[in-house]
Amino acid sequence: MIRIGLVVNPVAGIGGKVGLKGSDGEDTVQKALELGAVMESGQKALIAVRLLNEVKEQITVYTCPGRMGAEVCEAAGLCYKLAGGDTAGGQELSSAGGQERPSAGGHTTSQDTRCAVERFLAAGVEFILFAGGDGTARDIMDAAGTEVLVLGIPAGCKIHSGVFALDPRRAGELAVRYVRGKVRGTKEAEVMDIDEEEFRRGRVQSRLYGYLRIPDEARMVQNLKSGSAYSEQDSIDRLSDYIVDNWEPETLYIVGGGSTTASIMRKKGLPNTLLGIDLVYEDRVIASDCTEREILKIMEKYARIKILVTVIGGQGYLFGRGNQQISAEVIRRAGRENIIAAASADKMLNFVGRPLYADTGDEEVNQYLAGYMRVIVGYGDFVMVRVN
């Protein structure tokens, strides 16, 4: 039996329709309810969960009481177990016997989501379906890391992360494919979030928080006439090999954050700060998780400098999201021609007819970066993309 965890953030998306641009924080939830908001994430989860009936003989579903999952399972006619709770191994319940914990009846918090995930892991769950938005994804990430396979059912106001299926139905379909052993591979996908306080003030500042492991449903679908398809990870492996094989001596490399640059560092046999900036010289990390000031100071000692970055988030930021330490001044000193950008071929397909962005906070440097840039997508394989 395959153990699947289901957690629904019942208040996800509640702020959206009443114009609150998010649902993070208990005050916001209260305000949304006062404004007449309706909890819809359960309905979205239901679309996905109903599909699990196709493989119900092969799965055990672990979930949380009430609106955090049990109600959805009952509506879908799916048997489930409550993870953790009052009994150590989870309590077997029929679809008619859902019990409700006090917290699930009232307003839930991010702590509830994290608790649920911890209980899933203790119960040996191998695939977690969650309904929510970017905030929920962060909570899942905090508790699950990249050890367990996760997939988001999009139900929040903010969906900037790459861990969600395109829509709830496809989340369900993908879960069914997983149970049937049809998922070819997994990949790490970005968990992004924007600062809701800033967003409410009209400023969009998305940040890269980390990564979750999701099923690899690459857009490069195998097609009989097209020859062999390869996965996103193959593409990252190849571009990593290329960059490592062409690593220049006597050059300071400023390595940005992200899973792609992490893969390059792994190929190079070097430790890496996933969400920070590392400096490498002659096959050695000379500084880790640097601030802008540290980078500028170290740069002074080196004549030859390269900046190695990947494309962050669905909007496609080369600079200004998740790597703000590589500041306008760092870029100005290194020079545009010394920027190495790398991302998987699959990811770059999202930028056909769309530009990448550089938001360094310095208009002059933004203009300096604007124009076409090569992005490495494989071994000696580049695409030309416009930077705005």
Binding site: R169, R184, G227, A229, D381, V383, M384, V385
Partner: protein, 517 residues
């Protein structure tokens, strides 16, 4: 006039036929060969002793033993489980739809005189086929505007490979091979272009389309440099949009010192309308099996033609067929040639069909092929775009050439039914599944029809009606479409994962057995 069926109540034969290797019993024979009389045996001796010892197998091959009837039945059943251009309206094979291919051409290649030719015969005994090949090359020079042709390549990709080898030979001669190590292509050109370039060690720079669906000219300007060896590009690309700035592309690359290669695998939309050399290209290639009348698909037979300008003539694949005024001969005396690509020369069955195609149509006929294929395509597009959920991204309102890349994205978003679902469902209506897109799928949920010059208005109406019916099903009974096919020879869905999971992949019986099946 104007009659077509909207629903043929089609059901393909389904025999659940085993592999022939699993059939038969020891000792079963196809034909009982009578024993030779004693007198004959005395004169001839043991038959097995007539064969040199080195050629004799040590043990009999592990072949299945079946009667003639069983063998015939097996292959007749398999033949009923195929759908080809002779039995269905085969419009959906964008770039590969069978073009004008008169059946009389099959009589030419099945004629005894042709079938008994052997590639090891002396030139003096094969003057006829050498003349056909020589004249093919002369016609292709006229069609392309180029100055030298090699018919050595066994297929389109090998011709592209030959062109990349020619690029390298040219820059080696100029002493620039080390410096010029980049080849520029577009994401909607055929994948064999970046594929062959990478195989020969070039870095590949890929351009995306601009907002009009044409290759991004500004991106090309940013990509070219003193490292540029060549531009390899298709026009029109798979979108069917003719790139009317193609001369600018060529000029930009030439100014940077690079060469320009035109992928003309599918010539149908531009026969007699444009020529590669006139647009400034240095090289092009043709898939003769695709554009010049040959049954193709299922891995053969193919034939490629490498066509180059005077400046590059010395490098083409050897040998070439030449004529000295009295006789035709294979010219191996080409010291600067990139060499042989394969054993022997050309694929004669395809080359003889190409000759018949060119001779029977003439220049006016070939031009009308292009005009008709464009007319047909734009008629079909107009019909198809009335279907809910189907759209044609890029360059709205602009006519397409001989094919178009459409998208079911809207239908997928509204119903969950994908292009792959529709591709399987169309088989239930009695049509071959269709070509979605080359790799990668730049446009979501792609569909690439190509009605070519041979299909009638009724054929196209019937084809469009089937898709309209499937779209209606998608909106009313999506599960029906997602579960397809129901009436095809294959009862079960092909698990495409097996095509990329090498641990489950086998192309021979031995490999299949090694997997423990």
């Amino acid at each position: 006039m104007g009659y077509y069926k909207k629903n043929r109540d089609f059901h393909e034969a389904r025999w659940d036929e085993p592999f022939i290797m699993e059939m038969g019993n020891p000792g079963e024979r196809g034909v009982l060969v009578p024993q030779a009389s004693e007198k004959v045996r005395e004169r001839s001796g043991e038959a097995s002793k007539l064969i040199p010892a080195g050629l004799l197998r040590k043990k009999a091959p592990a072949l299945p033993e079946l009667s003639q009837m069983q063998v015939l039945r097996h292959y007749m059943r398999l033949s009923q489980e195929t759908i080809g251009t002779d039995i269905n309206i085969d419009i959906g094979l964008g770039t590969c739809t069978m073009k004008y291919s008169p059946k009389i051409h099959e009589q030419l290649v099945r004629a005894e005189k042709f079938q008994e030719l052997h590639p090891c015969q002396d030139e003096s005994t094969v003057q006829g086929i050498l003349e056909v090949m020589y004249k093919d090359a002369q016609y292709l020079k006229a069609i392309s505007g180029m100055d030298q042709v090699s018919l050595q390549p066994a297929g389109g990709s090998q011709a592209i490979f030959a062109n990349v080898q020619t690029i390298r030979a040219y820059f080696e001669e100029k002493g620039e091979a080390d410096k010029r190590d980049e080849i520029i292509t577009t994401i909607l050109s055929h994948p064999a272009n970046p594929g062959t370039a990478a195989t020969l060690g070039y870095k590949v720079i890929t351009l995306y389309p601009d907002e009009n669906g044409l290759p991004d000219l500004a991106a090309l300007k940013a990509a070219v440099s003193e490292r540029t060896a060549a531009l390899m590009i298709t026009n029109p690309e798979d979108t069917g949009i003719y790139n009317d700035r193609i001369r600018q592309f060529v000029d930009i690359v030439h100014e940077a010192g690079g060469l320009c290669v035109y992928d003309q695998a599918n010539l149908n939309g531009v026969f007699g309308l444009t020529r590669a050399r006139d647009a400034g290209f240095d090289m092009c290639h043709y898939n003769l099996h695709k554009s010049f009348s040959s049954p193709h698909g299922c891995q053969g037979p193919g034939a490629g033609a490498q066509c180059v300008s005077r400046e590059l003539a010395q490098y083409v694949a050897a040998p070439t067929v030449e004529f000295d005024g009295t006789k035709y001969y294979l010219d191996y005396q080409r010291p600067d040639s990139i060499g042989k690509l394969r054993a022997f020369y050309g694929v004669p069955s395809v080359l003889i069909r190409a000759y018949a195609y060119i001779r029977s149509l003439g220049p006016d006929g070939m031009k009308s092929i292009a005009e008709l294929s464009i007319l047909n395509n734009n008629y079909l597009i107009k019909k198809l775009l009335k279907i809910k959920g189907l759209s044609m991204p890029f360059a709205e309102g602009r006519f397409r050439m001989e094919q178009a890349r459409l998208s079911w994205q809207e239908l997928t978003e509204e119903t969950g039914v994908t292009t792959d679902d529709i591709c399987r469902r169309i088989v239930d209506y009695g049509f071959q599944d269709y070509f979605t897109s080359h790799h990668p799928r730049v446009l979501p949920e792609p569909f690439t029809p190509e009605p070519v010059e041979t299909y009638s208005k009724d054929d196209m109406d019937e084809y469009a009606a089937a898709f309209a019916a499937i779209a209606e099903e998608a909106y009313t009974q999506p599960e029906l479409v997602k579960g397809a096919p129901y009436k095809a020879a294959l009862g079960a869905r092909i698990e495409e994962e097996c095509l990329t999971d090498w641990s489950k992949f086998a192309t021979t019986w031995r490999a299949y057995q090694a997997l423990g099946k």
